[in-house]
Symmetry: C3
Subunit: 654 residues, 3 copies
Amino acid sequence: MIEQKGLLYGGDYNPEQWPREVWDEDINLMAEAGVNIVTLGVFSWATIQPSEDAWRTEWLHDIVDKLAGAGIAVDMATPSASPPPWLGLAEPTVRATTREGIRYSHGSRNHFCPSAPAYRDRAREVARRLGAEFDTYPNVAMWHVGNEYGQYCFCEMCGAAFRGWLQKRYESIAALNDAWGTAFWSQRYSAWAEVDLPRVAPYLINPAQYIDHRRFASDLLLDCYLDQRDSLRPLVGDRPITTNFMGFFDLVDYKSWEAHVDVVADDHYGDPADSQQPHHTALVHDLMRSLGHKPWLMMEQAMGAVNFRHFNTPKTDAHRRRDVLRAVAHGADGVLSFQWRQSKSGSERFHSAMLTNAGPGTRLHQEVRKLGADLRALGQLQGEHRRGDIALIFDWESMWAAEEPSVPDRRLRVLERVQEWYRPFWEAGFLVDVVSSTEDLSGYHLVVAPSQHLLRPEALGQFRAVVERGDQLVLGPFSGVVDEHTALLPGPTPAGLTDLLGAEVHQWWPLPEGGVEISSDRHGSFHVGGWAEQLSVGDAVVLATYEHSDLGPAVVSSEGLTYLSCDPPAEVLASILLDCAQKAGLAPDLGPISSTRGAEILRRGPLTFAFNNSETPLQLELVNPVVDLLTNQPASGSYQLAAGASAVLREESR
Amino acid sequence: MIEQKGLLYGGDYNPEQWPREVWDEDINLMAEAGVNIVTLGVFSWATIQPSEDAWRTEWLHDIVDKLAGAGIAVDMATPSASPPPWLGLAEPTVRATTREGIRYSHGSRNHFCPSAPAYRDRAREVARRLGAEFDTYPNVAMWHVGNEYGQYCFCEMCGAAFRGWLQKRYESIAALNDAWGTAFWSQRYSAWAEVDLPRVAPYLINPAQYIDHRRFASDLLLDCYLDQRDSLRPLVGDRPITTNFMGFFDLVDYKSWEAHVDVVADDHYGDPADSQQPHHTALVHDLMRSLGHKPWLMMEQAMGAVNFRHFNTPKTDAHRRRDVLRAVAHGADGVLSFQWRQSKSGSERFHSAMLTNAGPGTRLHQEVRKLGADLRALGQLQGEHRRGDIALIFDWESMWAAEEPSVPDRRLRVLERVQEWYRPFWEAGFLVDVVSSTEDLSGYHLVVAPSQHLLRPEALGQFRAVVERGDQLVLGPFSGVVDEHTALLPGPTPAGLTDLLGAEVHQWWPLPEGGVEISSDRHGSFHVGGWAEQLSVGDAVVLATYEHSDLGPAVVSSEGLTYLSCDPPAEVLASILLDCAQKAGLAPDLGPISSTRGAEILRRGPLTFAFNNSETPLQLELVNPVVDLLTNQPASGSYQLAAGASAVLREESR
Amino acid sequence: MIEQKGLLYGGDYNPEQWPREVWDEDINLMAEAGVNIVTLGVFSWATIQPSEDAWRTEWLHDIVDKLAGAGIAVDMATPSASPPPWLGLAEPTVRATTREGIRYSHGSRNHFCPSAPAYRDRAREVARRLGAEFDTYPNVAMWHVGNEYGQYCFCEMCGAAFRGWLQKRYESIAALNDAWGTAFWSQRYSAWAEVDLPRVAPYLINPAQYIDHRRFASDLLLDCYLDQRDSLRPLVGDRPITTNFMGFFDLVDYKSWEAHVDVVADDHYGDPADSQQPHHTALVHDLMRSLGHKPWLMMEQAMGAVNFRHFNTPKTDAHRRRDVLRAVAHGADGVLSFQWRQSKSGSERFHSAMLTNAGPGTRLHQEVRKLGADLRALGQLQGEHRRGDIALIFDWESMWAAEEPSVPDRRLRVLERVQEWYRPFWEAGFLVDVVSSTEDLSGYHLVVAPSQHLLRPEALGQFRAVVERGDQLVLGPFSGVVDEHTALLPGPTPAGLTDLLGAEVHQWWPLPEGGVEISSDRHGSFHVGGWAEQLSVGDAVVLATYEHSDLGPAVVSSEGLTYLSCDPPAEVLASILLDCAQKAGLAPDLGPISSTRGAEILRRGPLTFAFNNSETPLQLELVNPVVDLLTNQPASGSYQLAAGASAVLREESR
């Protein structure tokens, strides 16, 4: 993280929208609100370079100077997300093309083609120029390349780039034919030139082509980032360089980007209208904490409503507070918002800000100031990282494969299953690491893989090791099915694990509306919809059984391996998963609190965060006396957590 | 209106579909049905000009002659809506292009590009030729240019036309950059050539570009109309020239067309399957009566079913009768239908007609004849215009801005809100003028603006004047928000009116499913979904309050200004709006009837129309004795209005 | 059918996906499962011809030889469905184009343009080469051209082909203008070059153009088939040549293909998740039995799940068994599956197979073997054909016309209505012939036409003849409406039959949600939604009447003609239709069984099939003692049909 004492607080700042007198007002208001960092330049390309040979950076120097004067750091962005109209007109290849072959027009943003040399060269140039001009400012604390990388392009150049990527991957066309299974449907390629992007086709596209295209698209965007990172590096020394991620965003495999960013930075806009938002958000935060296994940065969030949804409910005061503090609880070293001042014009004029169009006198802005003070009070947490109790496996490529259109059930949403499996651990106060199946799993006593559809040999090796060393592994439905090319692994599933399980899957059984009943002595009878499987059981213990003529066991386990062939209701899933945690010898660390009792509890460093996501007060039993760091109120015996409230408790030794 | 004693009755007539013997039968049947006008030529281009240098108008002369012989007037149409296939092949630019760049093929209609000189020149030519050939017929009473103007084109020519329109509007590219707020998202243009139509883009399009494109598209179609009107004028003398509007059709701002048509003519096809149709239709009629503030013409309606909906329910006999008479009640000087005789072939062969394929012996055709006689009996109403009691504001540009995709809530439908606000006045028997916010409002004691999202300075001035002179102004949610470029007006909303209101809006609050409760002493407690707002109140009186932790007042008012921040249920809305009418000192004129009691009542000139839109009889109390003009039955004391019935009452002095 | 004793059993086999050792294992397992035929080569083009001048057929010779060794016949396919990538790259015209003008890319299948000479020539060439090479194998028992013909292309070549087809059909452009009714909407063509495919248009496309395009598209695919059939014929002698149909697939009029295939072969994938599947499937089988009026071949079905639906429920063991035996009951001389061995890769790797990826030890494969034995036991049925009791009319062109977008109700689905009308006959155990309105109907005492929207003069003549000879005709709603060009037939409907009916239809009346009540003395009161009609009745007997102000009779009949103007609920429809069967003097032949009592019963030759599609056992009363052929169990008096069970009963003379 950048060199800064305490936690970061601030947001995107786009002063090019405002006259100079507003800048001064802004900086005064920022100081009053506790802002200590702003991101500049994200969408400034057309202002910085208004035409091919004109460069205008004076204004940027001025604002960096002014911010320096107020002690506010700068996260300096390269403006490459949106090339200016003059470039898109002079070099049409700069603008990306849809799957249908339509080249984007101007008027929006993020319209660039990631392959076009005309784009790549100029993006590098503008990054180099900014790096050279701003390397000497002490308050330029961090570099931010581009913005929310995440798009496809289907132009001819991207087609050629895909062929290049495949050549590097497969070396021979024969190897590609083999990997892609082109013997089926007469798809055998005789030369590289015949291979193309998955454009428009009359029916299902080859799934190996599909998944390789997704990998390629993620890698191509990474190349765009690396272009600029490598251009900046010699100019900016060891100041951190990063770009902003978007949680589980499904076009980019952030696991493969992790090593290339100095700080993991995330943009997160949970929907306040979604009652499931708290645990979904916590899961995303745990992913970010686990990418790099160190403190991360909330690079963008909203203080109120966003404007990209069908309808955009704002946050209540209590909700806003929980969101900011939850990020810190999950290891964020700072919370930045989009944006400092609400835009007057443009497509985001209805996106909220730290300072809205209604001015500084609003409830919202008063709360923004209060949060600034709160984060200052939590400065001791900077740099604190905590390793999780449990490994929850998430692989982008496995999600891509499991949701590819030719699978047995297009209703399947991997992320939803992952969220459901995360939830009971979150409710119990466990800290969960969200990791890939191929990173080191040796330290975990409990490994849960809700949807390990694509199983690489390395992952299989690790999974077997978990069981063989006496730890617990839990596998979800449709796991152990395909290899990295989406080809079926031979034999029954979960492939390579049926011996350890003592059971095997013979058929997948997507259920029509109505679903099926399941009976279980241990977990009670329950009902499932969506997915089921036909199992054949050897030595495994049967924990639950389908009430269906052709289906038998639904949940089975051996000593160290539990397999779920369906998606049980939340309380049953919790019962199964918490049983496994117990078998693994795990218990949550709730600090001074004896049990969660409906609250969301999480420890970071010496502090314990408690959130009440409900509309009714909660009573927490205390093991030790505490002081609420934000109110300085002591409590012992029990702690009353008001409806919607957040608390940060410091344990006092009894 | 055309020189004609009494009301017009007739329809589109496309004799080119039929052999000559059918023409004679048609004219006989028309005469028997009371038809006194038909529209000829709307889709006759390919018949009139079967190839570039061939002109065939003899048939048209023949039919005009025949109609003259039967005393039937002609509304002569220019056939420009559908250029013939030979032209579309020879000059592909004549065919319009979709947003995705696909040029339309032949086989449908209204496929022309409004910018293409190859189209514009030839449309002018055919209009001139018809004008010159038919200017001497005394029964050619009216000219009808094109048909239902209302389409987009995204060809290169339209792109150039858009740039031309923008240059005229903004003069300098700097002014456009300022108006469009291009400093955001790196959209700054350095030259006119970089500006384009809102084509396909990866994300939200600049809202100022969006709204200017909508204005441009409306103006471009108006240019097409004016081309022909100006070509016809020297040839046709003072005979009225018009084109047919389509109610609140959202691609064209009819307010800006109003001055250019000699008669306001409307095509209206309310859906008989929609139980809300009566007041929706009445609202459209009031819009037409208010465009030009004079009698108007129902140019097209259906006697039975249409065929462009997903399913097309026909009209019952009672419904057909109410529809025809309602138009007259709302100021129409005639009712024409599409079309006289049902087509045998083509895409509208299942559209009903005055004479259907089943022949003259049907119930439908007998009713058509009865209506002809009825309209003859109402001839005294020709030319009668009545000014409304209340001004209801509707601006196309404000609707466009409020429904633009980057707003807080894409569920918002301005027209639906306008319909809801219109309804209580309609139910009470008030006559409502549907006017723009910038036309003269000085004569109205009550001005209601259900959705004044875009607020021009001129409108603000008028709104302040309403309040300051002691009249009543009522504003709906999300009002006073943006300027003509969709840029946020500075400060809290309703901008420029918060001082008169004594309250200000701080946040818009689109509600998730479930909505919120509102309590009100005056109007009872109620529930709203969809939209809400966070208000901060000074001197305003709070009429209703949200039951929500972060929301307070929901409906507030000062002496002359009432503000609703939500969409209350119909009965609550009625209570609020009728309170305001009372404060404004208004009461409806129901003629001889003491109160509406569930009936739809409207005065025009000396007559009072009464409609029963329900399936049960209604009993109306009479202040004076009446005679039903259509049945010649007298009544006094009370009048029994049968289920579904229509009545036209002439008051007899007691 | 091919020269083979007994019924065929097998499936598609794509050995090019597997190494040689798998081939030997496959052939052993096939033999054990009772497989006696496999289809080779459907998607082998890229393997057979890996580049323009390279031909690789040795592998195909090898596998044919190996199969011969095991006594397994070959259905040899030409691989024209999917041209190889090298061809699509070298000759882009080979790849079809969407309506929007996008040319397909590689990666899927069935992407060919049916007009392109570059495709047609090469498809002919590969067929000739295979014919020449494999004509001498005695086990090559049958030829299979292409696969599931059924696609559109909108390229320029197809445009030209459409014009050619139209020229042949209409000879003069004047005749086309007349047939298409181009006098409406200014669509008159002055030259053939102006006529085009129904590409993208701003509004409804001319319905005659629409329906001619559908006919053209079907004919064009037939040309593709005939190309190859005619190339093969001189090479393969009298071995049967066919292609695989897809039931009621709506892009191809199989009635016009019927004469050109030596064996009617069908691919059928009923959805096990659909509770209506049994009678829908039976209906499709009866269509196939009636195309050619002889035994047919189930060319493809699934042993378990498919993978092209949104979710793909597999078959239970009981369901699989019913499906296979039902096809035989309805006249199939064999049942083949897609495919023998589940693919490891490609877009159908999750499609089930006779031998799944989980290996031969599964329940599914054990059942596959059992079915092989069962079909062997039913060998005596080969060649048995039974003519139906009832003619049910289905015409592709009438369906196309009735579902064309400009009709009164786009909710109308002809096939759904046909299914509903078929159901009561199927439930009662009648055998129904599914025939066209223009084939010979003279032998039927009951003709039912659920949706005879398009009525040709030949059909009208036959319909009149049915009534006039004293047999029964039943017509469904919206019948007798248009001619072959979708032009309205003159006068009230059912056109040409109103005199025989004594009633006429004056308006179609699509109903809004809520529908309408109908009262009937004979059939009880009931409720209908969707469609209704306004009738005027002369001599007809009114069987049911709408409870609606503007609607009267709903179901009417004369001596020999019954007309339904709505879609009654299943039990009412059954009552009406079975009344008509009784009037026609018909009773079902249930063999030894006294009545169906909930079971699905069908006779073929000397055997009686009984299926229990429910989850509860059924008790059948026996007229004569029987032996169950599959279990060899005798029964008399009654027969207990277990839940889900299938039985094949041989009647023992008492």
